[in-house]
Symmetry: D5
Subunit: 147 residues, 10 copies
């Protein structure tokens, strides 16, 4: 079973059983962001995690196997995302990209924020003027090596 077929089966079962990503994440014992990324084909689960998913959604073993394969990553169909919600993240990189680079260099020196040794949190922050989405990127600073 391909990774993509597994994703389709998972989303179908999730919708039929009316289970949230939150609930699956709790069953798996992982953060909702990482769990959702794995379910959408962007991360690999271990055997135990994958079987908790299929147990929770009533799916066959072949889905659990697919969830353990290392996926070809990249979730967008186009270079610049078209969906407005996802585009806003592209816009932030477009508008604030040089700002982020200038400040990280001032704080850390020459290097990058890792997108591999990296975690992300998404939270809902209540606000009387309208609730807010808070997204936190947390990546290890990797200094450029000299040789």
């Amino acid at each position: 079973m391909s990774r993509q077929e597994a994703t389709e089966k998972i989303l179908h079962a999730k919708s039929t059983r009316n289970i949230s990503f939150e609930e699956i994440a709790r069953a798996v014992g992982r953060n909702i962001v990482w769990t959702t990324a794995a379910l959408l084909g962007q991360a690999a689960m271990n055997k135990e995690e994958a079987e908790k998913v299929t147990a929770c959604l009533g799916l066959p073993a072949s889905v659990a196997e697919a969830l353990q394969t290392i996926p070809t990553k990249g979730s967008l169909d186009t270079t610049v995302p078209v969906d407005p919600l996802i585009y806003r993240f592209h816009e932030i990189t477009q508008v604030y990209g040089t700002t982020i680079k200038a400040i990280i260099h001032e704080m850390f020196g020459d290097g990058i924020m890792s997108a591999i040794d990296f975690t992300m949190e998404i939270e809902r922050v209540p606000d009387p003027h309208g609730d807010r989405v808070k997204v936190t990127y947390n990546g290890k600073f990797l200094p450029y090596k000299k040789w």
Copy 2:
């Protein structure tokens, strides 16, 4: 004076006087991310803020005027950023874009995180395995309007 010329003069004076973005931000009385974005041509200052910048960097009034014009935003030269530090933010959108969309929809319903009613923080988080870069996006949730 064009916005771009003002940015060049600012970066030159900042380098000559050896002043950090942190220090300029403190002088302006604003967060370092917003201040740096304004200095790099991605946000408009008011008169008072702009004059604090030129005072602090020893620059003429024409620079302060330029800082008050509303800029044409977008800081990258290419659609997909080439610099490795900035590319990692593009990669995060590429890999986690659909995950972010799925979770925000589950938490909030149909809508987006605003990139306008939006703040960003960049912090250095000490860590014995190597310090970490923490970037926080905080945007108002905007629900799609029906009519």
Copy 3:
């Protein structure tokens, strides 16, 4: 059922039963533009709205369910639209984009017209020299936040 399959079933039933978007919109109790956008996979209906659509078109419950899922938005196959009717809207952005930016900034200051807290109207305006298409965009002004 995927959102795209639902759209195809809806358009087929609409054509077979010879019902206009106008009539469906009236059945749903919403504006024709919003209703058509939802039918074409660009907005999410609530349960009541979706069931009015399937009642009116004689479609199964699975279509109503699909209409309630939040779609991945973006209706064009290409970055620049090829169909002449849709291209004219791209051309207006190309030719008048900087004009719109200059005037909104003069009227409101630094910010944008929301495309989320947004409504659109399309009307036929009788005119002895040839009737006219009138399209009205109405979006909340969102000022850039400072922090």
Copy 4:
């Protein structure tokens, strides 16, 4: 004098003299949208209109001549606009393009809304929840010719 040099001189004089597009439009006797488009190099003025601009801004006759030449139109640097304000108009075409096409065809038959026999209005609509931007497109319907 090239059209682009004329635009730069006009924007400089406008800024120095602190005159709004609104005021120039009143001096010219035309709508603010059309006038701004002409000043930004997207429409051609006649002799009288052009001289009113230069009178009002204290600019030489060569600017008035440039304003009378027919420009090569297109105001954006990139195919997809990068500036957030202008991008929202692209997003509207992306999300609502097929909706607009479906409704215009239902109302008028096969044809397009002209972007040439076309006017645009931009207004500020007061609103207790935040003022709104109202943009009205008004273009002649052009039916496809059969032959």
Copy 5:
């Protein structure tokens, strides 16, 4: 039946029955260019025209219905055509585009040649040095509106 399926059925029947576009156009009572464009999914026929096509090609009523729907126009798979015959028309626009613009502006003032209120003729012109293809574009001049 989709527009594309109708096109395929038409081309198949045309080939099997060995009927030329010329003959179908005569049956329909329209110019060969417009008729071919309609058969290839770029124009909408009325009921009478569509039924003449299906009568002439022995096709079912569903094809006639498809021919009456307003198509999403655009016949090329790529932005720049790859087929040499079609590419030559792109090359003419590339090489002579600014020439055409300069001359139309000199002849008519600011405006465009309509591609909607437009007809095209294709003829074979006998020539002792090799016959020639003559293609005539005939579009209404549309002057830019001032407002």
Copy 6:
């Protein structure tokens, strides 16, 4: 003198002396389309033609020399033209490209219309409903060689 500098000098002198392309073409003794194309850097004149241009516009011999060099052709800045007048020609290729191919093949067999052994005429056709632009392409049919 580069071809581009020559074009700029020619357009400047033409504007200052208020001479039309029509008049220059008459002076050169060639069609207005070909003459304009040569002046805009898309064709090479012979010595006699080039000197008639410089005589008529009061330009130095270096311009006449430039007009005799074979130019690197291609008059558009972008792959898809942005200016609305020129875009309409691209749109015609987009919408009618497969129609043109089908008809030329039916009339002539496998081959192309030459864009080299090619002439173009542009005319103003008076019409009570609004004058029309008539553009005629006339290219030698070139059959594909078999070997």
Copy 7:
């Protein structure tokens, strides 16, 4: 049968019967390059040629019919070829394109080498340092027409 299906059937039969392009070309009585191009969907055969192909490969009449239709030409999936063998030809155009232009203009004047009245030969040239591929392009010079 579409042109592409015919190509697939031909390649399958060629592989099964273990026949070379060389042998098919000899059976058809044409050069191997032209014959292969026709088999790969880039040229149209006449009835006799097409039937020799199907006789030689044991294919049905529908394949012979497909080989007689005029194909939509263009054999690459991408603008810049990705396969290393084909890329080298793109690289030659990239590196030597302006050289070829300069020399042809010096030898012939303003015009092009036809890619229609054109033949190509591919030969193996024995060489003690490693055999060489010799590819010969032979196209009629087409001078630009003046008018």
Copy 8:
């Protein structure tokens, strides 16, 4: 002196002194194609060759030095060439690319024609129906290495 400046000086001197590429090639003692490529910045000369060029064109030693530097190769401004003469070579790759691949593989096995151990000849072939351009590519076959 940059490679590009050297090319400009060479083309200017060549035009002023009215010397052909043929004559320079003879002076250098190399083929006209290679010599022209080197003059246009696509190959590196040795000291002796470079000094023959500057002697023949009356240029300073700095040009000879520039001709000896190894250039960054690639002569086209765009991915797909726009100039019709150069485009025809792109078209040949587009139309015959898979044919060339199929035949070279049949003749030689898996590998490529080198574009480095490579020579090109351009000749004028007299022909009563119009002279022909003959371009010969001659590249070493490089078999893929197994390991």
Copy 9:
């Protein structure tokens, strides 16, 4: 059987039988990199090698035949790879491309490193600070030919 179907069958069997690329390479008697490239459709095996693969994976003869055909090479779906692991190799070319060119030219003169007479090794290098990936490219230097 197409090359792509063969790849799918191979990966499926490899997964089912739980055999590593390392083990298949040992069975074939070739390096793991070359073997994997061949299995993924980027190199052609001889009969003996192909049959060892199918023996080892329990696959039919048609797979062995497919492995002997010369593939259309190119393993990425997009010009710039999206998967983070593969992107890092693109980034290295982006950041160090001019460095590599400068050093190879200094070491060897004008020429290239062959990607055809080329081998690659991938090794795991133990390191107390985290194991390292070592990738070695080894390509014949090919000097540019003069003629």
Copy 10:
């Protein structure tokens, strides 16, 4: 002084003084690859390293300062490199990208080879059949983090 001006001054002085990258690297006390990358604007030197460069090349202090700023990285002008030497590295990624991914995943699990904690060596390997270029990439394996 901008990073790009510093690079130009360095390359000019290096050429005038006839010093190799090898010699500069020895003076700096770093590997030739890293040193060249820094000189070409892709890495930041410390004060001591930068001053050794300017001492060795006879350049002013402003160059040494520029060499200490953190550059915006990315050395190519185009997405796909056009220069044949650099293109071969792109081709290797194109052809072997999925192979590299498959093998690294088999050896290490889900993660990437770092391009930051990374070193590169370039060597000349004597070979009787023609010397070879050996390029070694050595990057830390970074496993994907779960959270």
